[in-house]
């Protein structure tokens, strides 16, 4: 779709970075947000009744390329992001091979530039091959353009190594996105350790496995000054630890996924492997604690942990299925439904979790609709009611437990650098 000069007219503009929530027009000229009266020869796009926000950012996406392009590619994953209203996504480095070298980052950047639909922000590994043994070439990764570091899917178990990595990353100004999990406590687990794992006879993953590493990371953040972001917070104890750390002013943040906000471990009694993820779905008390953490500002980010798998990989015994579900195309409608329409969060507060929250973690400075900034814009209908239909997804994968869920909220237009990259209803190209 073309890049042109246009004015989004009559929408409710929510711009959390600048505290704006009012009906106003947004002009775009040459890919830059421009005062409407200064846009030459604009196309007028009527967005009355719709919400206009800065482009949403997802801190946690698995694009699977290179290594598992049967499940997802940079092209399909970024198209799914666009359809979900995301204009920028952080690509996790657990590809095959892992993104632990400048060459791997260069491959991602070049492929994304050619085939990507939205902005792909590279994340590099903390340790070589994500093995948790030796520090990766963090300076080189920084020069190659990574915005953050993570061994996602793995967690450095050696506290001394984690300390050094945190110090070293901090000297390059890079945040660490950590998958907090004690490998000994979590060993062989396939679901949350609790009432349902005991009843079903499945190996549990104790909340303590997450809590221990969140505590470790907070302690090391205090020691080193490093910015540490806790990925996919799942346990109520972790929420409380992050709350205390933030009260002390430490540079610690946390993200919640839509599935941990929406679902609990009881779902697993169906043995549907689309309920298998890591960290696992936890108890109702944990789910409520996450929601409370979002409401009181402890959790500042909603991220999807979009984890595509082929149907074949997931259609197996629960013990043998890979962890993870896709989330890019369901995150906004699910969180609108469960958090905003239910009255827990205001609409601006929810949008902040998708914009200023992730921007703060990455240190991005123009996640707003201010004039002169790149025109990354999301337009959605907050009320449109429908059932989630995975057959309409743009992701290559279909591993979602949300098919058939009744939601309210639909992305209508996603704009990256002034180009409309997604529209609903979709038009034949």
């Amino acid at each position: 779709m073309n890049s042109s000069n246009f004015i989004l007219k009559g929408g409710r503009v929510i711009d959390p970075a600048r505290g704006i929530d009012r009906v106003m027009d947004i002009g775009v000229a040459d890919g830059i947000i421009t005062a409407p009266e200064a846009v030459g020869n604009p196309e007028i796009i009527d967005v009355s009744g719709l919400v206009v926000t800065p482009g949403l950012i997802d801190l946690h996406v698995h694009l699977r390329q290179p290594g598992n392009t049967a499940a997802e590619t940079i092209a399909t994953g970024t198209m799914a992001a666009a359809a979900g209203g995301f204009t920028a996504i952080v690509a996790m480095p657990n590809t095959t091979p892992a993104a632990d070298t400048p060459g791997a980052i260069e491959y991602l950047r070049q492929t994304a530039a050619r085939q990507g639909v939205v902005r792909v922000l590279p994340c590099g590994c903390l340790t070589r091959n994500r093995a948790g043994k030796e520090m990766a070439g963090i300076g080189g990764l920084h020069s190659a353009g990574v915005v953050a570091l993570s061994d996602d899917g793995g967690c450095i178990q050696d506290h001394a190594l984690m300390r050094h990595v945190a110090e070293y990353a901090h000297s390059f100004g890079l945040p660490i996105l950590d998958h907090c999990e004690d490998a000994f406590l979590a060993a062989n687990g396939v679901m949350h350790e609790g009432e349902w794992s005991v009843l079903l006879g499945m190996n549990g993953i104790a909340s303590a496995s997450e809590e221990l590493m969140v505590a470790r990371d907070i302690i090391l953040s205090r020691l080193t000054g490093a910015r540490i972001h806790v990925q996919h917070v799942s346990a109520r104890e972790s929420v409380e630890l992050i709350r205390q750390a933030r009260r002390q002013g430490l540079p610690v943040t946390g993200e919640a996924t839509p599935h941990h906000i929406a679902l609990t471990d009881e779902c697993i009694k169906t043995y549907d492997t689309n309920y298998k993820m890591n960290p696992p779905l936890r108890s109702e008390a944990d789910r409520q604690a996450l929601i409370a953490g979002l409401a009181d500002g402890t959790i500042t980010v909603i991220a999807t942990d979009h984890a595509p798998h082929t149907a074949t990989a997931k259609l197996v015994e629960f013990d043998d299925a890979p962890f993870g579900i896709i989330g890019l195309e369901t995150a906004l409608p699910i969180t609108l439904t469960l958090l905003v329409h239910s009255g827990i969060l205001s609409l601006p507060d929810l949008i902040a979790k998708f914009t200023t929250g992730p921007a703060e973690v990455l240190g991005l400075d123009h996640c707003d609709l201010a004039e002169g900034h790149p025109a990354d814009i999301t337009v959605f209908d907050p009320d449109c009611a429908y059932e989630i239909d995975p057959s309409t997804f743009h992701s290559k994968a279909r591993n979602t437990p949300f098919g058939g869920m009744k939601v309210r909220g639909r992305v209508r237009r996603t704009i990256v650098g002034g180009r409309t990259v997604y529209r609903y209803p979709e038009q034949a190209s």
Binding site: G194, V198, G201, M202, V316, E317, F318
Partner: protein
């Protein structure tokens, strides 16, 4: 009002009502008489094909099912894991669909993964009988245990049943818990906290880490086999220590009522979870359990095959 069986699968006692469990036990009473006759065979499953699909090694359960199928006159195929395509990288579902495509009526299945039989039953038309999945469910074992209790004690409701040992990893324990609770028994779980998590209390059972306390009021004590690999995994320090504190030995046997039944699903680790003299003593009904297993499995096969409705 006559009860009618309507399930194509038997996956877990969790799914069954009290009426359904009692109906299986009543049907098993009838089939027990068959095995006591001179000619131990009935034509109930003639023309039906049963596949025994064991993706985890089993001798006792497989033999019991096979004999039950033979006594019901079914055609039988045994698929063992080593001979199966699973070793060649075929998915479990493809393997089962391949078996089913030969007009199989019933699949008797064992698998190491919890819920594997539920997953298969959701995806095939033939009936599925769970012969043990992971640490989840082993319904025919629990049914034969409960059948034995009912025959010996005349009832199940109101009895105190103590299950001792590695509850955490035991499908036998989980199936017994559901079956016993549904029939109105009071269940106590005993063993070290590493193997008997407190979460079980949420479903209305008593959790006890002192064996003597768990034995005092018991009408029935069911001892589970203790796997030696649990020691290397750090659940208890040594087999000797386990036997001393959590085994039914000469000393702890004194705390049991004189008329208490001693049960064990087998195979027994003699002098570990169960003292040899007690295993062979007058309170033991361990071999009766084996005998009753045949009748219970005949009943389950008969009902699930749909013959019960005709």
């Amino acid at each position: 009002m006559e009860f009618r069986w309507h399930r194509k699968d038997l996956l877990s006692l969790y799914d069954l009502s009290r009426e359904e469990i009692e109906y299986i036990l009543d049907t098993a009473e009838e089939f027990k008489k068959v095995s006591e006759r001179n000619v131990k065979k009935v034509p109930a499953l003639r023309g039906k094909t049963v596949v025994n699909f064991f993706v985890e090694p089993s001798t006792r359960t497989r033999i019991s099912f096979e004999l039950a199928e033979q006594r019901l006159s079914a055609d039988i195929i045994n698929v063992a894991v080593d001979a199966s395509s699973l070793k060649k990288g075929e998915t479990l579902l493809d393997t089962v669909r391949n078996i089913e495509a030969r007009q199989v009526d019933l699949l008797v299945m064992r698998h190491r993964a919890t819920g594997a039989q539920n997953f298969i039953a959701q995806n095939v038309r033939c009936g599925v009988i769970n012969a043990g999945d992971g640490a989840h469910s082993h319904p025919t074992q629990a049914l034969l245990d409960i059948f034995t209790i009912r025959q010996r004690k005349g009832r199940v409701a109101g009895l105190n049943v103590t299950i001792v040992g590695d509850i955490l990893h035991s499908r036998v324990a989980r199936s017994n818990i559901w079956g016993l609770l549904k029939l109105g028994a009071r269940v106590t779980l005993a063993g070290p906290a590493t193997l008997v998590p407190r979460e079980f209390e949420k479903i209305g059972v008593r959790v006890c880490h002192n064996l003597r306390d768990a034995l005092r009021a018991a009408d029935v004590v069911n001892l589970l086999r203790i796997q030696h690999e649990r020691q290397t995994a750090g659940f208890f320090p040594s087999v000797n220590e386990y036997a001393r504190f959590f085994g039914l030995n000469q000393e702890t046997f004194q705390y049991l009522r004189p008329d208490a039944l001693v049960m064990h699903p087998g195979p027994i680790n003699r002098d570990v979870e169960l003292d040899s003299a007690v295993a062979d003593g007058p309170n033991s009904v361990i071999l009766e359990q084996v005998t009753n297993g045949l009748a219970v499995r005949m009943a389950v096969l008969f009902l699930v095959a749909g013959c019960g409705n005709k």
